[in-house]
Amino acid sequence: MSENSIALIFVFPLFGAVLCALVGRKSRNLCHPIAVASLAGALWGGIETLRRVIASETNEVSYYFGGWNADAYPRGVGIEFRADYLGALIMLVVVGVAFLVAIYSKLPVAEETPEKEGPFYTLFLLQVTGLAGICLTGDAFNLYVLIEVAALTGYGLIAMGSARAAAATFNYVILGTIGASFYLLGVGYVYMKTGTLNMVGIQEVITANGLADSAAMQVAFVFICLGVLIKMAFFPFHAWLPNAYFHAPTATSSLLAPLVTKVMIYVMIRMTLTVFGVDFSFENTLWTEVIPWLVVIAIVCAATMALAQRDVKKMLTYLIVAEVGYMVGGIWVYNYYGFIGSIFHIISDACMTLCLFLGVGIILRKRRTTHFDGLRGLFRKMPFTMGGFFVGGFSIIGLPPTCGFFSKWYLITGGMLAERWEYMVALMFSTMVMVVLFFRLIERIHLAVTESGENIGHGHGDLALPESETFFDEAHWTMLVPLLLSASVVLVIGIFNQDIVNLIQDFLEPFDLPKGTGR
């Protein structure tokens, strides 16, 4: 079983999805247990894969679907799935997040999309298959197919919400297709020049034939990066994200918000480091000069837009756009510590975004709104939910010992050593904005102050609320337990950050990245 662990990550959700589609019509209640069970299987496969990667001498494990293995056939024949530290870690995050969301989704799915459990969990499991596949595939064209699998199921999951969600999804379809098509076009140019689609094979041909100066390869690089930037909602291309995630059903936004953008950042790291190679990607000075400035604009604009929102869920969607800026910046400051920060931030941002969206989902279910005006007195009613929610919030701000502190620490270190002061300033600015955002929320959730600043209690905020408004009304356990688990994961990753950073360092060591300024 163990040597097939990579295949098991896909087999469980894929067949789970088929099963959900089959039984979904007759017995809707079976779909949720099937989804949870198949994701538990996938999680086991994921942990087993990471264990094998750590145990292996080369720190990577390959798996060939259909038995086209490398011993009998040359590289590039057949599709290789390769797990190294980077891919295995991100894959584990994907499957873990999906597992928690699957448990959480029982009530929201039954209430928000009644009688659609079958289609919902089918798409949900296919989405996870696609996202986990993106993290492990070693084939550039296969990556495109998996991006589209994840995108198509994502469209369906979002559009299951209100009519507003359908309208928002339409924009997502258009922009998502442009992004994926640009990626496909780039892969075409790569294939033209190198004659292989295997990621390691491409890298070998580039070094062997000295293709770094080739115009076609430069075009390919631009198309691929542009496509990936559109898919990850980098600032000028972010227009599809806030509306799509805001109007999506709770379970959908809890799954997509932590994962989709992060997985696309993984693709960018994979492309720049493994496929095109450090020399090709970063010695081209134009990108390393220009992108950090675009990142600054992205972070500042997204943070400012988040500040302007009057709705928690909408505010969080803009925070995702700002966080994308952090990670893209960590890559393009071109520094060893920036890369550690970027990779670690993918992991920690997925966990803390999950935490926040699970919390928001509970607020939405209890209060029927996530508008700021609907938050009064929530802490007295749901102390555990709000506690979990604010662990996520503190992590976004970057307070120790949450994981957000450590990833931001590495990002800022990277920016400082690379002497990209503008990036550091943008990070600091964004941190300030997030302090304002979350302490404003704390104030609203704890105190009973109305919009005009009028205190409707007896003068001491929450404590002074009348008894009738502070009765204990905690969330259902299927929703509360995933939230508390994700909050504890945020803390655990923060406390044991050194172990994860060690793995990331082992991954980055062979690439010989500059530890000071690379310019």
């Binding site: 024949v77 507003r164 379809v173 109305t450």
Partner: protein, 203 residues
């Protein structure tokens, strides 16, 4: 410019497919971004995807090329006669030169071996590379699926807003937003009338 090696000659004769693909790509992109009608946007999306398919298919084209199936009797060079005893050799596709040589050497050493064998460069010189075309089969499937999802969404938007003009949909959405009242949560349950009345008194 118009000569044998001129730019125009290169663009219109040698690289004609690539020029067409760029033009189609831009038409599709323009329609997706600038058109107001949702169906026209989707037509643009289809043109955009078709342009990429044309690009890939152009990569794989070879003048006088044939499908990569081993056909001994149609052999134009007569090189294959010696291998006729091994029809399963047809399995192999183009490989790197090194692999091809090793495989041929192995083959010559062991004539009883019936496994797949790499053909030499000379043997495969007439074959068109099938891979780009096969990749495009997948891309076409993806394109059809995307178009299907997008059409379903358009239908849903039309049912909800009665129009498929983007600005009309946006106007309807703005009107909807303006009329939405944020419920006063402290006044949603009958229990809480006390606070409401207190508020009213203060006001």
């Amino acid at each position: 410019m118009f000569g044998e090696d001129g730019l125009l000659n290169e663009l219109l004769v040698e690289r004609f497919n690539y020029c067409v693909y760029v033009v189609l790509l831009l038409i599709g992109l323009y329609a997706m971004i600038a058109k107001n009608n949702l169906i026209k946007k989707l037509i643009g999306m289809s043109i955009f995807q078709t342009a990429i398919i044309l690009f890939y298919v152009s990569i794989g084209v070879k003048e006088g090329g044939t499908i990569p199936i081993y056909v001994a009797e149609h052999d134009p060079h007569g090189h294959h006669a010696e291998h006729q005893a091994h029809p399963e050799e047809a399995n192999a596709t183009e490989e790197t030169e090194e692999n091809a040589t090793t495989a041929t050497t192995l083959h010559e050493e062991d004539h009883g071996h019936h496994g797949p064998r790499s053909l030499t460069d000379e043997e495969t010189s007439d074959y068109a590379n099938p891979l780009p075309h096969v990749l495009m089969l997948t891309a076409i499937v993806v394109g059809v699926a995307t178009l299907g999802v997008a059409l379903a969404l358009t239908q849903r938007i039309y049912r909800a807003y009665g129009t498929i003009e983007e600005d009309a949909v946006l106007a309807a959405i703005l009107a909807e937003d303006a009329s939405t009242v944020i419920p006063d949560v402290l006044a949603t349950k009958p229990k809480r009338t006390s606070s409401k009345s207190r508020k009213a008194k203060k006001a």
